[in-house]
Amino acid sequence: MKLTPTLDGGFRIDTEHDGDWVLLQSIIDDADPEKLAHQLSESIASSEISEDWRDFVLPDLIEGFNSDLATVREALKRANGGENPEPIHVPPKESMAWYSSLNQARLNLEECFHFDLNVASKHEDIARKMAFLRSRIYLELQSLILDRALNAPDS
């Protein structure tokens, strides 16, 4: 997979084999917008506020996270992964949705597996090992998006 910054301030993703498509689809599967929104809402410890937060803010968080995932899902659909996949063009206005979706996926994987970087190579469980690898690749993609798209002067 290649991720290349574009002149308009966005980026494009070129897949090189089927595994890249599986990985990109995994972003959607690994993320859990509703769970993340609930976890963030639970950060509000003050009983004075927490009830209103659940009623008014939580639905907005869920909607926002779902909307970001929908942007990625739509981009993958447009690129038509399969025999002759198209490059995925991500315009600057969608960079944040990609970053958000990758972050949602990583937050959920971390929540499920509690990775320990010091013992990463010793993971016996194949599902855990695969999840760790996906998490590392998502992190690399996020770093590129942050450096090349989100931190660009006009972003």
């Binding site: 993340l36 963030l40 809402s41 950060s43 509000i44 410890a45 003050s46 506020i49 803010v57 907005d60 968080l61 926002g64 996270f65 970053y99 958000s100 972050n103 949602q104 990583r106 937050l107 971390e110 992190l139 996020q142 770093s143 942050l146 450096d147 989100l150 931190n151």
Partner: protein, 93 residues
């Protein structure tokens, strides 16, 4: 003053409402550069201050990133959560 007159007393009261703190907690996932980026975007801080607060979150586990009136504190907290940062608010002591 006759019996039918109404006396009006004016009393001035000054009430200072307690300020609220917006707090951000450390987490094992969010990139340090991203947290700095969000502080600049949401709170309007310059890069130096945003980086200083990000490092405080990272090293101390939490940081008070803004203090002020409740409505604005709620708004900032909501925005920070929308960017997937673990943020909360509490009354300032």
């Amino acid at each position: 003053m006759s019996d039918s007159d109404t006396a009006t007393l004016t009393r001035q009261e000054t009430s200072l409402s307690t300020p609220w703190n917006v707090i951000v907690f450390d987490d094992p996932v969010n990139l340090m550069g991203y947290v700095t980026h969000v502080f600049m975007k949401v709170l309007g801080y310059n890069e130096t201050l945003a980086t200083k607060l990000m490092l405080e979150v990272h090293e101390a586990g939490r940081s008070v990133v803004w203090t002020g009136e409740r409505e604005k504190a709620e708004f900032y907290t909501q925005q920070l959560q929308a960017y997937q940062l673990r943020a909360s608010l509490e009354r300032s002591e």
